[in-house]
Symmetry: C2
Amino acid sequence: MGVHKITGVFSAAATPLDSDGNPDLKRFSGHCRRLLDEGCHGIALLGTTGEANSFSVRERIAILESAVSAGIPADRLLPGTGVAATPDTVELTRHALSLGVTKVVMLPPFYYKGVSDDGLFAAYSHILDAIADDRLQVILYHIPQVSGIPLSLPLIERLIAAYPQQVVGIKDSAGDFNSMQGLVETFPGFSVLAGADPLMLPLLKVGGAGCITATSNLVADSLRIVYDHVHDPERQAEVEAAQDRINAYRALSNTYVQIPTIKAMIGLKTGEEGWRRTRPPLMPLADADFAALAARFSELPRGVR
Amino acid sequence: MGVHKITGVFSAAATPLDSDGNPDLKRFSGHCRRLLDEGCHGIALLGTTGEANSFSVRERIAILESAVSAGIPADRLLPGTGVAATPDTVELTRHALSLGVTKVVMLPPFYYKGVSDDGLFAAYSHILDAIADDRLQVILYHIPQVSGIPLSLPLIERLIAAYPQQVVGIKDSAGDFNSMQGLVETFPGFSVLAGADPLMLPLLKVGGAGCITATSNLVADSLRIVYDHVHDPERQAEVEAAQDRINAYRALSNTYVQIPTIKAMIGLKTGEEGWRRTRPPLMPLADADFAALAARFSELPRGVR
């Protein structure tokens, strides 16, 4: 694992909202601290689960600043900074760097579909050249089912060749294990991070770097057990039990629309108000669904950490 | 036609860039003036053809302001203001209203896919309620092949019922004529505007309101002839000849990636430098393609207005 610049269990942290629909910054930094306490190596805030693209640039800046101000170490924050307009991606990434946050997860520009690899390479190049900061480490973000923009193997290869110090990894949320394994084998040292919880375990076994997942909002401790002991033959029962817990939480989170369900489950876990709220176009769970979720949640196994 | 609040030939104006890749504001306002001189009823700037979602909020504000400052009448500007984050949509729409620009074209939030009609209704409601300005007239924007977000008939019906004064029309760029005709028949007085040039003529015949199209950057005069005389039995030969010209330009613009090709053709038409530039992820035509395009462009029929 040591070969990777970025490796570990990273949480695609959800973003709580206050009763006016604005980011609840205090609750958010508390959530980040809890995720670290539960074992996350870092917080991949402002991703898809974090509803980042439903927030304005100004709101995103405020969310990241609030986490840093609350004492979450900058080197454990990996904000999403990739948006549709490259100048905003530059602004968000520069802002992160200004806070000492050097690792970011970067979506490609996602409005136009069917764009060429040349166009995506030009977009990433423009962004990286405009920022021109050697501290920056970029995790590419491949989630074609949401962004509509797959990142091809030749594109990734060009980016790594052109920016070997900066393009250090990928969050692969497409869910295709063979493709992830192919990335690991093709690009030694490049951090391939699973975007889906069931895939971290097999990915680690073939040399992957870890995960950035939604279920880590709920079971970071179990993910950490898998990460820490996957290569220890004597602890495989423990690893398997942890993976079973992860899978149980993930299965329940997929019963309804995932992001609102994850948020509702965080509220059930913590007893904190407000976690059911989402920003449109995502909708909170209906009351009946929430009640059914709560009943099933109470039967889930608890963490052990 | 008089029944529609918004009716006419509107150009999905392309946005020229300077040599640094920034919007060329002076050239843009000149382009708007030319489009009006050639017969457009208005300019639907900052749409898909205008690469709007590749520009930051600040750049979009500057582009709209430059057109107003250059003397383009506010009531002939229909900027796109819908982006992924609803607070930015609110900001862009309020800014338009502050300039006296009351008609906007509004994409739904387009990052998350497969969202519910409830979620899209909530997003549009949130935006319209936050703006709360009776002057505002919104043209919904249905372009699922790019946005990934279709606007369903039940959603449109709910929006018209809830905001009858504000939700006044739709730009339908999906290219399905039967669906457009269905909108015309289902919602009398609701302005259905064709997003594709070949469909304006048949759409006008069944009661549609006009078009917002890319080819109007090149053949606004011919589109205006179709619009003005479609219902005059004695001028059908003239209408058909105009439609033939429109179709010839459109066919050529579809030989390569459409938006860069439209921009290159504007440069060929006007002799102005710089129109070949695009912002990533869109790429300019390669030199060989541009040369081939130029040769074919020189053989196209010219306008008659």
